[in-house]
């Protein structure tokens, strides 16, 4: 049972020579749920994700994984706990199988073991990547490629999955498929998932929890109840309408 919770507590970060990007930001990524990190460009979403995965270290505050400071984990230990789907992940000249097998890197000492191959085979089946297994990454469509990148993260068998704008440059069908995959990982494999996102409606449809950032601070955080018209208008600086749709609502820009 995954009880690993990734938590940022009152973190602050400023890039050298630039202003404060994050100020006293707190966020929790809990097992079995899918958190959307939302806000306008430059509000600190990706910086928060980088702090959560220890790519950069906050100048104040702490990031903990299962209660332990993230900085106390070795790199391999962290990679066995947290998988990152980066915004730019374009390997060339490797097959889909190679790309997925790379996800076992934190576990591989010298050469992959049978267990590593078995996990890759399983993920290929789960994601329906069988016909593509020996295709070169370069030959795939954007949607297929993003599935492979998420597949590699799943092959890592981590408790936490962080995604930086996973639906960027994808058509509508592929956006839906990618979001469905991540939600499935959260709900069925009890993985704690968080994604930096721009599409509010996609977030509303697939995510359970929301963290809205404004000017480096958390403007609102919680379930769908925090996604009010006032909050969205304040965060994005524009007027919107909330239109009822199925069990929720859609955000429609107005004016």
């Amino acid at each position: 049972m995954n009880d690993a919770m990734l938590e940022a507590r009152d973190i602050a970060y400023a890039y050298p020579g630039a202003g404060q990007v994050l100020e006293k930001v707190s966020a929790q990524i809990v097992p079995g749920s899918f958190l959307a990190i939302l806000g306008v460009n430059g509000c600190g979403k990706s910086t928060l994700l980088s702090c959560l995965d220890d790519i950069i270290r906050p100048q104040r505050g702490t990031v903990t994984l299962s209660g332990e400071d993230i900085t106390t984990y070795t790199r391999d230990e962290r990679a066995r706990k947290i998988a990152l789907v980066a915004q730019h992940s374009h390997a060339h000249g490797v097959t889909v199988y190679d790309a997925l097998l790379l996800g076992r890197k934190p576990y591989i000492q010298a050469a992959p073991r049978d267990e590593d191959f078995a996990i890759v085979d399983r993920v290929i089946d789960e994601l329906g990547l069988g016909p593509l297994a020996l295709r070169y990454i370069d030959e795939l469509s954007g949607g297929e490629h993003q599935k492979v990148v998420i597949g590699r993260a799943l092959v890592q068998e981590t408790d936490v999955l962080l995604l930086d704008e996973p639906t960027n440059n994808l058509d509508m069908a592929n956006q839906v498929e990618v979001m469905h995959l991540v939600r499935q990982a959260a709900h069925e494999q009890n993985i704690a998932c968080a994604a930096v996102m721009h599409d509010l409606n996609l977030a509303l449809r697939y995510c359970d929890r929301f963290c809205l950032l404004k000017d480096g601070k958390v403007r609102a955080s919680g379930g769908s109840e925090v996604m009010t018209r006032e909050t969205i208008e304040d965060v994005y600086g524009m007027s919107v309408d909330l239109v009822p749709y199925e069990n929720g609502f859609l955000v429609v820009p107005t004016g």
Binding site: D76, R80, L84, Q87, A91, L134
Partner: protein, 364 residues
């Protein structure tokens, strides 16, 4: 059968599991590496056979096992084998360095030449020959046979390492991106080339000729002692790079992904550049400038076996050795009694081969 057909064939027959298909595919890569090793073995025999004193294959094999006439033994072990070993070790070291530079800097143009390492070595050699006086006599033409044989080598090595350290210091100081590091290398290349030209402008004709001769590159300069030094450095580099094969695979997917897979990206880049620079510098210092091997050998092999560094590193090393060995045969045999500059021949051999593969559109 090219890799495309092979992958299609494997997919069509659909063996028991994806891993079986994958293992079939990786078997092809291992076969390519074995074939390369055999080609090099054949080139070694051909290289020993050819020359002013030509030997039959049987003479060569006998001499390799210490049998045959004293004349044959001297020709094989004293005249030809040092060149051949220098070509193999030099090719391996230059190709490995190029392969590692291209990975850690994520730039297909990265090599000892584009990073200013060759130019730094040429500047160091110029200092030794012109300023420190190694080239004040005709002995300078003979490189290691000069009165102070190791001064040129030492200065060339220091020049190459100085160039590398300057790039690394800049990258660390300003936290530069891989693209900026390559651009800094280009700038340093220009700086060293300019400085070398300036020194040559004030030198005597014989000194300038000695520097030019040094930059031509010559596989015949190194004796067994120098070959052992190069072999130790090349072997250490090979072990280091092979231990990092999974790290380089991770680097290929981008810095974010590499970090997510547990890699210390900056340290991997820094160490890869230092070890690569040492490997390339040792060869350039002993043999002079040898262009193109570090750039072209990894690219040629990428087109045959893809970008998986578990296979690309050994394949590139063997390809580098093969290209340099073939170039040396051409350099010695093209005009009877004259050994052409190896640096020019490597470009003449490597460039058309590379262009052919690009034009043919062989995969990857």
């Amino acid at each position: 059968m090219n890799p495309e057909d092979l992958r299609t064939a494997h997919a069509a027959h659909a063996p028991a599991s994806y891993r079986d298909q994958y293992r079939g595919y990786t078997r092809y890569k291992r076969l390519v590496i074995c074939a390369l090793a055999l080609v090099i073995l054949a080139l070694v025999v051909i290289s020993i056979m050819l020359g002013t004193a030509s030997l039959s294959p049987l003479d060569v094999i006998a001499a390799l096992f210490g049998q045959g006439s004293e004349h044959d033994l001297i020709v094989v072990w004293n005249l030809r084998m040092p060149r051949i070993l220098t070509a193999i070790i030099g090719g391996i070291a230059l190709a490995l360095a190029g392969c590692a530079f291209q990975s850690v800097l994520r730039n297909p143009l990265a090599s000892a030449s584009t990073l200013g390492i060759s130019q730094g070595a040429a500047f160091g050699a110029s200092i030794a020959i012109i300023v420190l006086g190694v080239g004040s006599s005709a002995a300078a033409y003979e490189g290691l046979g000069a009165s102070n044989p190791y001064l040129t080598v030492l200065c060339a090595f220091l020049g190459a390492i100085a160039s590398t350290l300057a790039i690394l210091a800049l990258s660390r100081f300003r936290d530069m991106t891989p693209e900026s590091i390559v651009l800094a290398g280009v700038a340093l290349s220009a700086l060293f080339t300019g400085a070398t030209a300036l020194i040559q402008y004030f030198a005597q004709d014989t000194q300038v000729a000695a520097v030019v001769f040094w930059t031509f590159g010559d596989l015949g300069r190194a004796s067994y002692r120098e070959i052992v030094i190069m072999a130790v450095i090349a072997t250490a580099a090979l072990v280091f790079f092979y231990c990092n094969r999974w790290n380089y695979n991770a680097m290929e997917s981008g810095e974010g992904t590499a970090h997510g897979l547990g890699l210390n990206v900056k340290r991997t880049r820094m160490l890869g550049m230092i070890v690569g620079a040492f490997a390339a510098s040792s060869v350039i210092a002993f043999c002079g400038t040898i262009n193109f091997i570090g750039l072209v050998a990894p690219h040629i092999m990428r087109r045959f076996i893809g970008n998986d560094y578990r296979y690309l590193l050994p394949a590139s090393a063997l390809a580098g050795a093969g290209i340099l060995l073939l170039s040396d045969i051409i350099a010695r045999m093209a005009i009877v009694g004259v050994v052409l500059p190896i640096s020019a021949i490597t470009s003449f051999v490597g460039a058309p081969l590379f262009l052919y593969l690009l034009m043919r559109g062989a995969h990857r």
